[in-house]
Amino acid sequence: MNFSIYDFTSFNQWIDQFLRSVMSPFWAIAVEMVIIGLAILLFYALVGLFLVYAERKVCAFMQNRVGPNRVGPYGFFQTIADFIKLMLKELITIKNADQLLFNLAPFIIIIASFMAIAAIPFAKGLHAIDFDIGILYVIAVSSLGVVGILLAGWSSNSKYSLIGAMRSGAQIISYELSVGLSLLTIIILAGTMQFSAIVEGQANGWFIFKGHIPAFIAFVVFLISSTAETNRGPFDLAEAESELTAGFHTEYSGIKFAFFFLAEYMNMFIVASIAATVFLGGWMAFHVSGWNGFNHIMDFIPPFVWYIGKTFFVIWIMMWFKWTFPRLRIDQLLTLEWKYLLPINLVNILIMAFVVLMGWHF
């Protein structure tokens, strides 16, 4: 039995065989599910806490401030303190709100982000479910979140919430097209929608390099449209503080508000990890063909570190967007999508198909 941080397949098989040798198959599967459930829960909580901290630090440095620095070393435990504070805050029931939908909305948003995480490959052999249609599945599930946002805005019975939710609905369904079409460009090149096969296909070069210019255009379009889809950055019209107080979650308080906040960061993590997996090679190391010594050193870094590094690089770019660009107006937002990104995407898909057909890609 040899464990390796480079390949988790044997580790998974070992756990499976061990559990099956101690108990009946039904209980073995049940125990595996509990282990995976706890692991995902822990991972989710850690990433959420870290991203909130990272956002505040990045924002602070971009604005020439220090940021949180009181709780723990470098203010590292600030998010945990905030979480405890939110937990201890009163859950206010709005008088004329639709109680059922009002309470259902956080459930939908969190469940949608959980189910999207199920398909993401973290390292070799370290993914929960390896779908044949992985990309399609993630696009489908992550767009379920908009139902939660619309429900939250509608059921609060507040004008700010309703305007925020409507804007968010129009924005998310518009930019979802660009997300799907820019990923399609890479599906043409990869010839598969399965995440593990896509990552394997990048063993001799990441798709952003292999796919020539169209792949790079697709990456830029994906970055813009996924920033918009997660209601972030210059596209945060749904919760424009200066005009709508907090948009669709104006009326939420305490821990319910914390879930909306958490879901925003987790959605950002999900789109960043899709960008890292599809365009930047997922857990594959960075290789330059011919440089054998260099490639060998790169192989030494574990796949999980590569994955996390690339994901956080994309997240950092998205935070950079947020703290440097001014917010768009709703007509500018919709014009950008329908009159620029969508036609660019359609032409880009044709160019990519032609490049693949002629074999001009690397």
Binding site: M33, I36, G37, I40, L41, Y44, M87, K89, E90, L91, I92, K95, A97, P106, F107, I110, I111, S113, F114, M115, A118, A128, I129, F131, L136, S156, N157, S158, Y160, L162, M166, G169, A170, I173, S174, E176, L177, L181, L184, I187, I188, G191, T192, M193, T245, T250, E251, G254, K256, D331, L334, W338, K339, L342, P343, L346, I349, A353, V356, L357
Partner: protein, 116 residues
């Protein structure tokens, strides 16, 4: 793991929110106050209905979105088999996109993509 285990992720998500809500119910303070239960609107009592008819612009975008979303159902399988089919698939998608582009152009000229 197979696709059935998706239910696991559903349960874990629901458990996280449900558990936190129940926990907060016991930990959080609770003091009722009629002012507190009002919907927020600059601090004064809200004026008029909230659940009323909404700008038609949003619906137009939703309809155009629907057209393109249905179209992507056709493009996804095409993209997967594009390499094997070769030239035939490329010519077909050019025709498909031409028709699709005409649709977008029509919506554009009709002003469906313009925000008022």
């Amino acid at each position: 793991m197979s696709a059935e285990s998706l239910i696991l992720f559903f349960i874990v998500g629901a458990f996280l929110v449900g558990f936190a809500l129940v926990f907060a119910h016991y930990v959080a303070p609770n003091s009722t106050n009629p002012q507190k239960a009002e919907a927020y609107e600059c601090g004064i009592p809200t004026e008029g209905l909230t659940w009323l008819q909404f700008n038609v612009g949003y619906y137009l975008f939703a309809i155009v979105f629907l057209i393109f979303d249905v179209e992507s159902v056709f493009i996804f399988p095409w993209a997967v088999v594009m390499k094997e089919l070769g030239m035939i698939a490329f010519v077909e998608i050019v025709i498909f996109f031409f028709v699709l582009g005409l649709g977008l152009l029509y919506a554009w000229k009709k002003g469906a993509l313009k925000w008022e």
